[in-house]
Structure formats: structure tokens, C-alpha cells
């Protein structure tokens, strides 16, 4: 991959400092690429100005696909292609089809949702996630700023990060 970019990586020791830092950096007009933390930080998506993801819509659509697939399969097999009477029921015993329909709906909704999540978060098996600092798996919070996407000078961003409470600021090319 040749499309490497330069990132300024601010390291934060504490989530409260991080939350204040994010506010200050954004108020300073700097666009944040992403923030990484070893554990979920409450209210961080509000501070970062993230919109709610559409993952639930994806789940609904996959669920709908599962329902359709299950009903088509069962009706196709048991009613259309080779009509069978089982237990004295009609050729189209809808109640008997519901358990399979329910299971396939849940299966496709959950698999579809997990799969979509892995792909959009760049956690897919063939993806190479950007690891800005190994310490995010331990006890440090990382704020990554894409230099190419900001018109502010590097030194100014460095200073802003330091002022916002970053314990160290590094430059990383990924």
C-alpha cells in the first residue's frame, strides 16, 4: 500500500483528560482521525460528534432477508416442489414453519451485523488495522490526527495536543 499518511499521535493517560482534550482539540479546529482506548469511555461519541451508526438498519435488513429466505425455502420445498402432508396439516402449515423462520432470521441478522461491523471497522481477516501505539491495548488512550487532512501546521497541532493534556506526542507514518 502506497497511500501512507502521516499522523500525529497524542497519548493520554486518563479518560477524563482525554474527554477534555478531545473538546479542546476540536475547538482548536483540528479534525481528529480517530481515538483509541483500551476500554469503553462513556460519552466519547458525543464529544467526538459521532452520529449513531446505521448498524441497526443493517441488522433489520439482514433479518428481513433471513425471514424471506426461510419462508421461500420451506414453502418451496414443502408446498410447491413436493407437496407433503405431515401430521395431518395443510400443504402450507404456517405455524410449523415459524421456528425455522425465526431461527434463520436471528442467524442472518446477527451474522450479517457482526460481518458488517468487522468490515466497516477494518477488522476483516484480510484487513490490516492501523496500530498507532501498542499501549492502547494496555493503559493509554490515543488520539490520531491525520496531517494530510488538516490545514494547520504540525507544530501548532503538537502544541495544541500538549496543551490539551497529552502526556506525549509522536509522529507516525502508517
Amino acid at each position: 500500500m502506497s497511500d501512507k499518511s502521516n499522523y500525529i499521535v497524542g497519548v493520554f493517560d486518563d479518560e477524563d483528560i482525554l474527554l477534555k482534550g478531545i473538546k479542546q482539540v476540536r475547538e482548536g479546529g483540528v479534525k481528529i482521525h480517530e481515538v483509541y482506548s483500551p476500554f469503553p469511555v462513556h460519552g466519547i461519541d458525543d464529544v467526538l460528534g459521532y452520529k449513531r451508526s446505521n448498524l441497526s438498519v443493517v441488522a433489520f435488513l439482514f433479518g428481513l432477508l433471513g425471514t424471506t429466505l426461510a419462508l421461500t425455502m420451506q414453502i418451496g420445498m414443502m408446498t410447491v416442489d413436493w407437496p407433503m402432508i405431515i401430521g395431518g396439516k395443510d400443504y402450507l402449515p404456517v405455524p410449523s414453519f415459524i421456528p425455522v423462520t425465526f431461527e434463520l432470521t436471528v442467524l442472518l441478522a446477527s451474522f450479517g451485523m457482526v460481518g458488517t461491523f468487522l468490515i466497516i471497522s477494518n477488522l476483516k481477516p484480510w484487513g490490516k488495522p492501523k496500530l498507532f501505539d501498542k499501549r492502547i491495548t494496555d493503559d493509554k488512550h490515543i488520539m490520531a490526527i491525520d496531517l494530510g487532512k488538516n490545514k494547520i501546521e504540525e507544530s501548532a497541532i503538537n502544541k495544541l495536543l500538549k496543551d490539551s493534556g497529552a502526556s506525549e506526542v509522536n509522529l507516525k507514518t502508517l
Binding site: 462513556h42 460519552g43 449513531r52 441497526s56 433489520f60 401430521g87 405455524p95 410449523s96 421456528p99
Partner: protein, 423 residues
């Protein structure tokens, strides 16, 4: 934290009295129409059929409404108990509202006894003396085999001692535990600290265990025994699920309406979201239980079991209500409350909650009516009127008691957590 008190205004009281009065008028109107129709049936009765009397329909309706509201009263206390047993923090600001439903328990208990003695022979086939007499041509060996469950220690056909003892003991213990929970909860507010909270946890656990057994048995006694030959091992859960969803919907509705009136400053859209999730999730749970009971009977196709659904589903008289039951209790809340936004906005809760409450009344209607009234059942003035009377009386008792204490406990140890609830 400022103390908040609900003001039960004379206007609100007047509205409830109007609701009850209209309900009584509708009931009388219903009695008149049914008794006129009853005369018509008496002509048909020449063919040897028993004449249908309007009192039977009245008793069936009183029974449905009383069982329904007794359940909601218990669900309120159960909801309160679960919050303590689960150490829930989010609900600290709202849990006094379901707790006050418990004030209806003594009324429900007395009414249950009265209605049983009024309508026992019309409602419960098993109360007929001849069924237990081997020399009678009405003798029913299956019901006679179940006599001990109703009549112990007496012989079948007499006073149902065991049945009545269960009813009385259950109501007495429920009310006792409710009073205890309530008094500790209110003293918790005055004293602060966490000592009372631990005491409530213990009491809550006792209530939940007792409720788990007693609610199932009540469902068998009060509802399942109407179809005496028929049985379902899911019935206790099924009734519980119906009561539970109705109780949750009522709680969500009252919280939302109080919030609209400017009360409950401690409640924000996150708490409403949680209540919406409760209604959504347990509507699905109810459907799961309902369908589990239905599917096994449908699939196994054993006549002694299928009769229950033959009377309800394959009977033109009730088929429409049977489908309506599923639509209002499953498809409607499922589709409307599915998105996050609909659960957070009071507008949607105000539409879904009343529908779900009425829907679960319909569920109880479908459990009781086909077995008691057969083809004479229907939804007319009497059903609507009596539901209004009961709803009015229940709300009067609950709101009256709600106004007598602060709406939330300002010294509750979890209140601070509840204020910071964020989802």
C-alpha cells in the same frame, strides 16, 4: 434533590368518576341488550338447550377484569422487588409508581372471593356437584380425579377448601409483603443510608420466590381450571407474561404522562428508553410463550389438547379476536417500538402502551370467555363498560396513594446513579 409530590387534582378525580359512571351506564346498557337477546335464546331453548342468562356473561366479565387488574397490581410490586433484587440503579426515580399498584391487592382479593361465590357454577364447570358422584349420569372420572386439587380435605363437590385457601393465603401473603416492602421503602427515604436498601433486597427476594410459585398456581386456579379437562404446563408462564407486559406498559404510560405534566424531574429520555425496551422485549417474550404453547398443541394434534384452540381459533365466533390478539400484542409493539428513537419519544409510548394494555385484557378475555360463554360470548357494551369501571377504580386507588408520598425517594442510595443514567 427537591421533593416532588403528585397532586391528585379534583379535576382528575372527576374525570375518573366520569369514566366509572360511563362504564356503569354502558354495563347496564349491555345487560339490557344481552337480556333481550337472552329472551330470543329461550325460544331456541325449546330444542333442549339451556337458556343463556345475562348474569353468566356479567360474571365472566367481572372475573376477567378482576384477574387482569389483580395481576397488574402484583406486577407493580414484582417490578419494584426485581429492581432491588437485581440491584438496579437506573430505576431509582420511577420505582414508587409500580409499587403503588400494590394498594389494589386487598380490593382484588375481596372481589375475587365475592365473584367466585357469585359466579362459581357459571364460570367453573368443576364446581358442579354431580361430576363427582359415580352414581350420577353426569359423573366425570377425569374431573373426579382432580377433585383433591380443589376440594382437599373435603370430598369432591362440596366447598372447594383447598382452592379457596390458596386464594386467601396468596392474597394475604402478597399484601403482607407489599406492606412490609412499602413501609421499609418509605422509611428508607426518611433515614437515608444503605441499611434499608439491604433489608429491601432480602424482602424482595422473598417476594419474588413466593410470587414465582403463587402466580403460576393462581393462573391454574383462576383461569386454566375454567377449561377443566384441558391443561397446559406453560399456562403459569403464559399468564405471568401477559400480566407483566400489561404492568410494564402501564408503568411506562404513567411515567410518560407524569413527565408531560412536569413531574419526575429525575426522569430523562434514557429512563423512558429503558421502559420502552421493557415493553418491546416482553411483548416478544409474551409472543414466544404464547407460540410455544400453541405450536406444541398444534403439532401434536391430540384432541384433548387441541380443543382449547378449536374453541378459539377454529371457531368463527372468536377467530377474529384470536388474530387480533396477536396483532395488537406482537406485531404492533414489535414494529412500532423497534427503533431507538421510538422508544425514547413519549409520543410513541403514549400510543403503544394503551394498545398493549387493552391487548392483554383481550388476551385474558380469550382465555376465559370461550370456555365459559361458548357461542354466547362477544365484545359489547358490557365488556367495555366493566373494563372502564375497573380501570377507573384501579387508577383512582393508585393515583390517590401516589399523591400521599413523594414521587421518588430523594435519599435513595441509587438516585445519583439513576440521574447519570446514559444509554
Amino acid at each position: 434533590m427537591v421533593e416532588e409530590r403528585f397532586d391528585f387534582t379534583p379535576k382528575a378525580k372527576k374525570n375518573l368518576f366520569i369514566l366509572i359512571a360511563v362504564g356503569i351506564v354502558l354495563t347496564v346498557l349491555g345487560i339490557i341488550t344481552v337480556s333481550m337477546g337472552g329472551g330470543h335464546h329461550e325460544l331456541e331453548g325449546a330444542a333442549g338447550e339451556h337458556a343463556f342468562h345475562w348474569t353468566k356473561r356479567l360474571y365472566a366479565n367481572l372475573w376477567i377484569d378482576n384477574v387482569f387488574f389483580a395481576g397488574i397490581a402484583l406486577i407493580g410490586v414484582l417490578f419494584f422487588a426485581i429492581q432491588y433484587a437485581a440491584q438496579a440503579g437506573w430505576s431509582a426515580g420511577i420505582k414508587r409508581i409500580p409499587l403503588t399498584y400494590g394498594y389494589w391487592i386487598p380490593f382484588a382479593g375481596i372481589l375475587m372471593l365475592v365473584f367466585f361465590f357469585l359466579g362459581q357454577h357459571d364460570l367453573f364447570h368443576w364446581t358442579h356437584h354431580d361430576l363427582y358422584d359415580p352414581s350420577s349420569h353426569e359423573y366425570d372420572s377425569i374431573i373426579a380425579g382432580k377433585a383433591g386439587y380443589f376440594f382437599f380435605p373435603l370430598h369432591g363437590g362440596g366447598l372447594p377448601v383447598f382452592f379457596l385457601a390458596r386464594m386467601v393465603i396468596f392474597f394475604a401473603v402478597w399484601y403482607m409483603l407489599f406492606l412490609k416492602l412499602k413501609s421499609v421503602a418509605y422509611s428508607e427515604d426518611l433515614d437515608g443510608g444503605s441499611e434499608k436498601w439491604f433489608k429491601l433486597r432480602k424482602l424482595s427476594a422473598i417476594f419474588i420466590i413466593f410470587f414465582a410459585v403463587s402466580s403460576s398456581m393462581s393462573a391454574w386456579d383462576w383461569v386454566m381450571s375454567i377449561d377443566t379437562h384441558w391443561f397446559s404446563t406453560m399456562f403459569g408462564w403464559y399468564n405471568f407474561a401477559s400480566w407483566w407486559v400489561a404492568g410494564l406498559a402501564l408503568t411506562a404510560l404513567i411515567v410518560v404522562l407524569l413527565k408531560d405534566k412536569g413531574y419526575l424531574s429525575v426522569v430523562n429520555s434514557n429512563h423512558i428508553h429503558d421502559l420502552g425496551k421493557f415493553v418491546f422485549a416482553f411483548s416478544v417474550f409474551w409472543t414466544y410463550i404464547w407460540f410455544s404453547q400453541f405450536l406444541l398443541i398444534y403439532y401434536a394434534n391430540i384432541p384433548e389438547e387441541t380443543i382449547y384452540f378449536v374453541e378459539r381459533w377454529k371457531n368463527s365466533h372468536y377467530a377474529l379476536l384470536f388474530y387480533l390478539n396477536l396483532i395488537v400484542n406482537f406485531f404492533f409493539p414489535f414494529l412500532v417500538l423497534m427503533t431507538r428513537e421510538s422508544k425514547r419519544h413519549t409520543r410513541f409510548i403514549k400510543v403503544v402502551a394503551p394498545v398493549v394494555i387493552l391487548g392483554h385484557w383481550l388476551d385474558f378475555y380469550l382465555m376465559v370467555t370461550p370456555g365459559t360463554l361458548k357461542e354466547h360470548g362477544g365484545i359489547g357494551f358490557m365488556e367495555i363498560g366493566l373494563l372502564m369501571v375497573f380501570l377507573g377504580a384501579f387508577l383512582y386507588v393508585v393515583l390517590n396513594q401516589l399523591s400521599k408520598a413523594p414521587l421518588f425517594a430523594k435519599n435513595h442510595p441509587m438516585l445519583n446513579e439513576s440521574l447519570h443514567h446514559h444509554i
